[in-house]
């Protein structure tokens, strides 16, 4: 039986949306207050969905503590209480939550192999969220 499991994590980070290829007025027009020079921060909520067959011996698709450990060491320790613009993952990449979703998906795809990574969902605020499934269509 194939089951999907989702775990939710929290981290806080700052960013500034700014594209070097655009002029100052263009940056201001495109990103609005997200382009303010000293950046700003969010409490991000990250939902990681993995899938797999239920192991009859454990009743689990993977051990939750392994997933927690991977997300903690590979994602939360990397980005929590950091300025995303200064992280190497965003060299040449605007740290929008769209891009952050892709970056986190790709990091976890490499580091967590105990179950299939289906998607990540990232809430930037209570009012907006982003989902990335490695290019696959999302499932209702």
């Amino acid at each position: 039986m194939k089951v999907h499991l989702t775990r939710r994590y929290l981290f806080s980070a700052s960013h500034r949306l700014h594209c070097d290829g655009l002029s100052e007025p263009e940056n201001q027009a495109t990103y609005g207050k997200c382009n303010n020079p000293h950046g700003h921060g969010h409490n991000y909520a990250l939902e990681v969905t993995v899938s797999g067959q239920v192991d009859p011996a454990t009743g689990m698709i993977c051990n939750l503590s392994d997933l927690d450990r991977s997300v903690q060491s590979e994602v939360l320790e990397r980005f929590d209480h950091e300025n995303l613009n200064y992280r190497s993952e965003f060299d040449g990449l605007v740290p929008t939550t769209e891009n952050l979703s892709e970056v986190i998906f790709n990091i976890l795809k490499q580091s967590f192999t105990a179950a299939h990574l289906e998607k990540v969902r990232l809430e930037e605020t209570m009012m907006n969220s982003f989902e990335y499934a490695g290019g696959a269509e999302l499932r209702v």
Binding site: K2, V3, H4, L5, V54, T58, G59, I61, V140
Partner: protein, 136 residues
Amino acid sequence: MVYLTRKCEFSASHYYHNPEFSAEENQRIFGKCANLNGHGHNYTLEVTVKGAIDPKTGFVVDLKELKEILNREVIDALDHRHLNKEVPEFSQQIPTTENLAIAIWNRLQGKLHVAKLHRVRVYELPDLFVDFYGEA
């Protein structure tokens, strides 16, 4: 095709233990969930059904009927119960959230007359949930 989701809650206790594992293995794999005295959760269940809108009623499914089926098949059997000791599915199976979602799907499957069961989502905690779509 319209998808409709009904939410309900139940509270139950459980523990995780595989008699074929040593005490040390049970502890290592299941951690504090292996405490044989059990512990409990407030579960939230979301059941999603899908179907065409009936042109006469404007409904995909009669919500009152769906609520009655959920109460009869799931809530009455699980709410304020010890899953390991009182729910037959878990006499031989570990009552993880994964297995619980499958068991709830199996309890509901075939009981809906109009709409089709699409997804069972079980929250064990606000930060942990499992989805089952009836896939092999």
